[in-house]
């Protein structure tokens, strides 16, 4: 007994020493990601990779997303909202400076927001700022934003990566040398290979624990697997090969992080194109689809089924999956009722992600079971954007809508799936100006029910956030409430 105790004691002492050694040695992190950002200005492109590198690490906004998707204070310490909901007065943190040493003041906020909503703005989410009527500098650390009409989402909008605060002094070279206020500063970019950031020693908030971090770009799924297995990299965010995850899970060197994203994956349906303008046909398709088979087949079991266009982790989510439960017999009888007893054929255009390509094949097989023939076309992203998204030339497509809280797209009759329901549009208009949380919650629930009842699209599953990391890496976000790899709280286990 005594001997055993000594052994255990020795073992833990050894482990402690080993652990301390590791903690001292490891203050850097190499994190893999699939896509390389085209440049590093989050305020002038849609590429999610830009936000992954810069969000919170390099650039910060007035508000910021937390790991659970909540909106927290960012560069603004506090804010007051006028009773009519039109005027937001933000009080900035004192002593915040950009990486080039210049101090952050209200003028920078005005510059950033005016630039984002200006005439020649190339902001990919310019719509977020459309409601702003004026941005005024009140005091060096106080800025007043006046809206044209109340916007219950305004603080949420300001947390997006596209709304970060930049400085006029460093805007010229922002694309290759981003200067922000974040806990890390940009240090090097070997294009095609990696981006390096180092800790900002003068950070205004809680300093980062890592001294430096490297983002390594590995697009090929097999190469990503090999790099992780060879321990060339410490973590991989958005791991592209879900089929390899069980292997990492079984390996004590690694841990698998499965979380949720804001990506509602849907079988998007052209509501303006016959026969999809008939709600019976859409309802039939909803019952023809076996979500679990798609999740198992295309995502190797990762992903949460959804019954409407809303993230299941959101507190206002309503589980409506039963409303479109898998029932091929019901689907066939609904098709007969709609006058398509012999079925019909349509196009299924698939963008490159594997959830779409693999999922699309399974959906085609399931639809064939009830008599719907699909002609599958695989498209590259630019073609998909041109033909499907902008040209509206499609019958069906599979796509994940990754913007947070984007149910509002169903209120736009010109949006590519062309759902036109005045009742829903009115509800969204009301939601826009409603600021009472309880009422907003009710309205969001009602909105989910309306689109589920209209079977606007085939609601498939919530896209999972799949990550792999070495066992010692702590503090990585499991969920992806926005496209961010926030490293400010990441450290190695001691």
């Amino acid at each position: 007994m005594k001997q055993k105790m000594i052994k255990t004691g020795l073992a833990s002492a050894l482990a402690l020493v080993a652990g301390m050694g590791a903690a001292q040695a490891q203050s850097d992190l190499v994190i893999g990601m699939q896509l390389e950002p085209p440049h590093l200005d989050p305020t002038s492109a849609a590429a999610g990779a830009i936000d992954q590198v810069t969000y919170s690490n390099i650039f910060e906004g007035l508000t910021r997303f937390g790991p659970d998707g909540s909106v927290n204070a960012g560069l603004a310490e506090s804010w007051d909202i006028s009773d009519d909901g039109l005027v937001y007065t933000f009080h900035l943190h004192d002593g915040v400076s950009f990486h080039d040493g210049s101090a952050l003041d209200a003028g920078d906020v005005k510059f950033s927001l005016d630039r984002a909503r200006g005439e020649d703005s190339t902001n990919a989410q310019k719509g977020l700022f459309a409601g702003i009527e004026a941005v005024e500098v009140v005091e060096p650390l106080t800025v007043k934003i006046t809206l044209a009409q109340p916007d219950g989402n305004f603080l949420f909008n300001l947390a997006w990566g596209d709304a970060v605060i930049v400085a006029a002094e460093s805007i010229e070279d922002i694309k290759t040398n981003p200067v922000g206020t974040g806990a890390f500063e940009f240090s090097d970019w070997v294009q095609g290979d990696r981006i390096e950031i180092t800790r900002n020693e003068d950070y205004w908030g809680t300093p980062a624990k890592l001294e430096s971090a490297t983002f390594k770009f590995i697009s090929d799924p097999t190469a990503a697997f090999a790099a992780m297995m060879a321990e060339d990299i410490d973590a991989f965010s958005g791991f592209p090969a879900p089929e390899n995850l069980p292997q990492f899970d079984a390996d004590p060197r690694f841990k698998v992080l499965v979380g949720s994203t804001e990506g509602e994956t849907i079988l998007s349906t052209n509501n303006a194109q016959p026969p999809f303008d008939n709600v019976k046909v859409r309802e039939a398709m909803a019952h023809a689809i076996d979500r679990q088979a798609i999740i198992d087949g295309a995502m190797f079991g990762y992903g949460t089924p959804i019954g409407t266009h809303f993230a299941p982790h959101h507190p206002d989510y309503v589980d409506l999956t039963d409303q479109s439960a898998y029932d091929p017999d019901l689907a066939r009888s609904l098709l007969s009722e709609a006058g398509y007893g012999d079925g019909f054929s349509t196009t299924l255009k698939l963008p490159p992600p594997s959830y779409a390509r693999r999922g699309g094949e399974i959906i085609a097989a399931q639809l064939r079971e009830v008599g719907i023939e699909t002609e599958i076309t695989n498209l590259e992203w630019p073609q998909w954007l041109e033909q499907v998204f902008r040209g509206k030339d499609f019958g069906l497509t599979v796509i994940s809508h990754t913007e947070p809280l984007d149910i509002g797209i169903y209120a736009n009759p010109d949006y590519y799936f062309q759902y036109d329901n005045p009742e829903f549009q009115e509800l969204m208009d009301d939601l826009q100006v409603e600021s009472d949380p309880q009422a907003r919650s009710e309205m969001l629930k009602k909105a989910q029910r309306i689109i589920a009842g209209d079977y606007v699209n085939g609601f498939l599953f919530q896209l999972p956030a799949l990550g792999v990391a070495k066992t010692g890496v702590q503090g990585l976000w499991k969920n992806s409430p926005t496209q961010a790899i926030d490293l400010t709280g990441v450290s190695w286990a001691e």
Binding site: T122, M229, W381
Partner: protein, 315 residues
């Protein structure tokens, strides 16, 4: 000789012009608006227009072709749509990976193939010959990306002799840089070395059957002496042709191998740029590669003339 060189130079210029037109037209018809690709699904119409204006996409195809070719002649390859850095800088950065990789692979394949080919030819029909033929048959048949994955599995994941990919950069030193290019170079070299070995062997066997070799043997030279003094030089012509052709294969094959080993070279740049519809980068890099291939062929043509004086006089 001079007339021969001038003739070859003229055909070089014509090939380059035709290539530039074909590349430009091919990318003109590729669907997908670069501005829409960059700004994504929530972009507003006026934002897209502003970006197109900024990128100069509003002008006609003839004006853009003129700018492109005119710029290239003075060394200006334009500015990347997505990266917003001059294409010439991007090429300059990445060529220091692709070119050493191709050269390393080429030297490897030549260093393996020529001795192996000579060895097999000099012992025709023996076990050595059969062994070399068998191995090269396998080498031709195995796709290089698959072989690459296999090597990663063995040497990077299990043995940990190499990293699974990536490039440390020349600033890390010469040997570390070569170290990180070793696996990709072997993967690229394997099929080329196999082809080259077979060409070397059969060319040498053909030559050994020629009358002048018989004459040389009749003069009293041993088989080995005849081979080294007379046959080898004559057998090198088809081998040179293949080496020239292989250079283009190495550059094209690098697109796949650079993706498998995530090397930031030209091949990966082309691949990324096509997906991002960064047309100006695609155009310029492809043009550069075409240029390299045409120039290499030109050099090979000139080398023929040096190795084989008959060619100079005949044309």
């Amino acid at each position: 000789m001079l007339r021969y060189v001038i003739k070859k130079l003229l055909s070089l210029a014509v090939s380059l012009t035709v290539a530039s037109v074909v590349i430009f037209l091919a990318l003109e018809v590729v669907p997908g608006d670069p501005a829409a690709s960059m700004l994504g699904v929530n972009a507003q119409e006026d934002t897209l227009a502003a970006l197109r204006e900024e990128l100069g996409l509003n002008r006609g195809p003839l004006a853009r072709y003129g700018d492109w070719v005119g710029g290239m002649l003075v060394g200006d390859f334009g500015t990347s749509y997505t990266y917003r850095t001059p294409v010439s800088e991007m090429i300059a950065d990445r060529i220091w990976i692709s070119l050493p990789l191709a050269l390393l692979a080429l030297s490897l394949s030549t260093l393996i193939a020529i001795p192996a080919g000579i060895w097999a030819a000099s012992r025709r029909g023996s076990g050595v010959d059969l062994g070399v033929m068998g191995v090269t048959q396998l080498g031709v048949a195995i796709p290089n990306f698959w072989f690459a994955m296999l090597m990663v599995l063995v040497f990077a994941i299990n043995l940990r002799w190499f990293s699974a990919g990536g490039f440390v950069g020349w600033e890390a030193g010469f040997w570390p840089a070569i170290h990180s290019l070793t696996l990709p170079a072997i993967a690229l070299a394997l099929p080329q070395a196999s082809i080259l070995t077979r060409v070397m062997r059969s060319a040498l066997l053909d030559t050994l059957g020629e009358d002048f070799i018989r004459t040389a043997r009749a003069k009293g030279l041993s088989r080995a002496q005849a081979l080294w003094r007379h046959a080898l030089r004559n057998a090198l012509i088809p081998v040179l042709t293949i080496i020239g052709l292989q250079f283009s294969f190495l550059i094209a094959g690098a697109i796949i191998i650079e993706n498998v080993f995530f090397l930031p070279g030209l091949g990966r740049l082309v691949f990324q740029s096509i997906s991002a519809r960064d047309l100006i980068v695609v155009e310029s890099v492809v043009m550069l590669l075409v240029c390299a291939v045409i120039v290499v062929n030109f050099i090979v043509d000139i080398t023929y003339a040096i190795v084989d004086p008959r060619l100079r006089r005949a044309r």
